[in-house]
Symmetry: C3
């Protein structure tokens, strides 16, 4: 099975380890044995001007996933919303009302589906590929999350080299290592069966550190100081 | 403490990684230090003719656990239903109504207890051994789950050698390895403190692979191809 | 960020692995990189005369945390109650009623705040340091929990050397090792990013064992036999 998935993650943190804004949306192509991405692409946000309360992330993820899916023609597209694997093109208002989710979740989807349903429907009509809301059940979505973390670190290195310092909150239970011209990241949850990712970067000289976010257990911080 | 426990697990998967039917119920005897089974027995189902919506599993587990318990006389029998450790022989209708579980859970137990309560009561009267509904709190139930996975792989190897290919979904966060004449399995959750199991098989020549189920995070797939 | 946190843990277990009473409250000073304690202090309870249903633990933790905080002047004090990081000094009755917690949780806090709110308010007025209810989100609270486990083992060794045997239930998913004159403990959850602790003890000769609590999955038992 060839899967395209997308997720958003990595946040600039303030001096109290609170998130200021999200950094990267990553879309990945995942193939058997489903442990890393064969291809990945990124769309960066401006973390210093980001509406954390908004619902922009899922839209960004859908657009980026479809951009990659148009190119690589997967069997299915996975989005990071845990609705049991329902097809987005079928999400009309009565279907949303019948979902076993919170009232707040329903309100969000009544609004989201205005953009996402026509998009998924058109994509399915043109390609036959389903876009499904599978969320945390999907290994591909988790790999996309790990790549969002890797791209956030890549952005952080460039930003840090310019400004002298940056502190980034990584996605949930993942760690990263910078080795010469590569950033290597992997899940800290062994139950996931060994998920990882890797990005090439320009080799530069700088100090970095990874450690637990003291106010967000199971989340790590990546810090760079030049 | 000597504990007998039983659990059902391991599923034949279709080409989209969805379960077709469950494979094995295992009962185990677990003794201090509670990391593996001292004795294990199995009862196979027909995964190609299995009612996944039914409640057959818990009945199979109770019968198999009592079969082993009659032989090894443990201190207690653990079943995989998380009711806080209540004694099955005491599960009459008013007691079930007073449980802090969902209405659906109550309906299931009102039906289940018709078979299980007399069985547990008779066993207790004859042996003094309690059968309790402890579920996910029990390390012995988890070891039974790991053995259900091992027996499923054993069945899968035989089935695969005959048919050329089979894909099995293992129980939650466990991995297996085939080494000569043994199947070794262990929990992928280090918080469980190192739970594992082992089965002897006939040494045969075949290729196998273990990898994450892409649509069921923290579940692994075992695949054999001759 | 310099954080003081406190937690209670470690229990004497009966022969069926059920807790009789809690052993130790630990307060810790945690500094960057937030993986262990720089300073720790302890207050022992009498586990053989302990009201497990009571709310004594959180009060003990608050008093012990403030005792340490007065000495080391941290930036913030973390208590083990998961109320989203709210400041204890602001917990008046209308604020408690507005919290998104269970009715039982509200009743407990209406009672608890009578002691804790004036305490936190006075401490804040004198030092400017906030005492917050952050609970399981805090890495410092988790490190305090690991130290409560270490102090419980230290108590257990002394008690065991006197009485010949004791069985202690450790806090959730942590293990300990006794090496000459040190007790080393660490989290079994790698998602936490490598949290650990260490205590010095008098070197003595005794046998010990760590193994899973059979009726409390993810909890380990420490046993000493002379």
């Amino acid at each position: 099975m060839r899967i395209v998935a997308a997720d958003t993650g990595g946040a600039v943190l303030d001096e109290n380890y609170n998130p200021i804004g999200l950094i990267a949306t990553a879309a990945v192509l995942v193939e058997k044995p489903y442990r890393t991405a064969k291809i990945s692409i990124v769309r960066y946000s401006n973390p210093f001007d980001y509406d954390l309360s908004g619902r922009q992330a899922l839209k960004d993820e859908a657009f980026l996933a479809l951009k990659l899916a148009k190119k690589v023609k997967p069997d299915v597209v996975h989005l990071d919303s845990t609705l049991g694997g329902i097809e987005i093109r079928k999400l009309d208002d009565p279907t949303i009302d019948a979902l076993r989710i919170s009232d707040r979740g329903k309100a969000i989807w009544h609004s989201l589906r205005k953009d996402l349903q026509p998009l998924a429907k058109k994509f399915w009509e043109e390609t036959g590929i389903e876009v499904i809301a599978i969320g945390k059940e999907s290994v591909a979505v988790r790999i996309a999350e790990i790549y969002a973390g890797l791209y956030s670190v890549k952005w952080g290195i460039e930003h840090g080299l310019e400004k002298g310092f940056i502190r980034i909150g990584l996605p949930r239970y993942m760690k990263v290592e910078v080795k010469d011209d590569r950033i290597f990241g992997e899940s800290l949850d062994p139950r996931e069966g060994g998920l990882y990712g890797e990005l090439l970067i320009e080799k530069k000289d700088f100090g970095w550190q990874v450690y637990p976010n003291p106010i967000a257990r199971t989340f790590m911080v990546f810090e760079i100081r030049v």
